[in-house]
Assembly symmetry: C2
Homo-oligomer: 257 residues x 2
Amino acid sequence: MYDQDMEAVERVSRLVDALRRDGRVEVATAAVEFGAAEMTIRRDLDQLVARGVARRVRGGAINLLMRGEELPFAMRELDAVDAKRRIARVVADLIDDGEAVGLDSGTTMVAVAGAIAAKRVTVMPLSLHAASALAAGTGVQLIMPGGACRPGELAMVGPLALASIAAVRFDTVVIGCCGVSAEGHVLAHDLGDAAVKQALLASANRSVLALDGAKFGRGALAVVQEVSTFDVVVTDDAAPENVLARLRADGVEVHRA
Amino acid sequence: MYDQDMEAVERVSRLVDALRRDGRVEVATAAVEFGAAEMTIRRDLDQLVARGVARRVRGGAINLLMRGEELPFAMRELDAVDAKRRIARVVADLIDDGEAVGLDSGTTMVAVAGAIAAKRVTVMPLSLHAASALAAGTGVQLIMPGGACRPGELAMVGPLALASIAAVRFDTVVIGCCGVSAEGHVLAHDLGDAAVKQALLASANRSVLALDGAKFGRGALAVVQEVSTFDVVVTDDAAPENVLARLRADGVEVHRA
DNA sequence: GAAGCATACGTCCGCTTGAACAAAATGCAA
DNA sequence: TTGCATTTTGTTCAAGCGGACGTATGCTTC
């Protein structure tokens, strides 16, 4: 029923943090710090290697992701789990029964999918992960867009995806992102992904941006749109107050979960 | 890692058989027959209720599915597991690296998806279940069709699905079915599903029909096509020999897994 | 040679099962 | 209808089992 132990998830998550912070971890150090056996740390590192996040070296492991590169989905999934769940809860409450919803890709959107699976709505999710979460709901009418599937992310991109989105109108679209620049640009790591987000926004009556507070000020490659053009922004306590104040001044409805 | 115990699966499967055969099961009888505690049978029946297969009554449970109605996906998945795996293996061996493959929906196709996930191919699966299995493969280029998603089955149907399929050409399509009539009609339970299968066949250079032998002679609502028009049929030892002989005479390549 | 690593095995923990018991539902009689 | 006997059900707890972790030992690499 379960993939992993709770503590195992916690250890792996902290190893990833250390890798991203210092570029490397040592087996002995981590073992002492986590209060676990060295053998256990080695087994954890094997997982990271299998997921392509780290390369094993004698005595530890080094980061394989270059600066700014996106973590694999399976890793981000373990990050800020609680914040995502709270944000998802708030987003779900914004959506009425009977609405047609467009749902972006990303781990936050999977959380949202889980939260709205209990409602009676029509949803087009942009990722297979979100689709799986929605499929559990009995009242959900699930519509899939076509498209090429980005590995790992399992997000639809490409012309087929854009055409599928253009063929429908959404009452609400919920968008996630990799970061929001200081200038207020909503950013994505992938150009194809950014195009899909823009298509979603173009087909939407109401647009919701959902992101945990740590993403404010974080950089990424592709510009999606100005954050101030969204109707609603849902974030958490980690978001900088001055940014939110400016958004409110621009007429954006801001929620903190 | 695992959803359930082996014996638990076996028990539930036998309960479903009994339900379909007699329309009802008794807790006490089943407990004696299976050599399990009554309490365990009750817990098993809870699962069937949760999946909508049975309704609980005092002392047992009664069948909720009308005659001929298709079992829910989650139940069929537990059926003929071994045969499906062997059939999937043979189908996978028919497919060369680099091919573009169209993959139908159904539990047998999920098995096929698992078998070809290790290859380097481009695949468009018609169900989310198969998509999940394929996503695990690193060498697979995954293309999703759009469409409405049949609940439980998670199979794409409708105009969007037909359009997505029409937009591509497959080297090989692998088709599953609910049954093959005595007259040689390939049958499906759902009209939308049958239309999708026909669209797949229309976009294919080579067509493969994969079905376990128990499906020969089994009825269903919708006609897809004559079985003799397929290029290849993959089945198992349970298939009646005379039917296969006639197929061979019609020029169909027949494999028994 | 020393440090790190992989394998083997013992231990611990959580899940499933079965048994015992209390609660609820049904049948029967008045 | 009420009261009682009986069957079924849900709950709780102990036993069994499998997976994860830690330790020990031999092997590899520097």
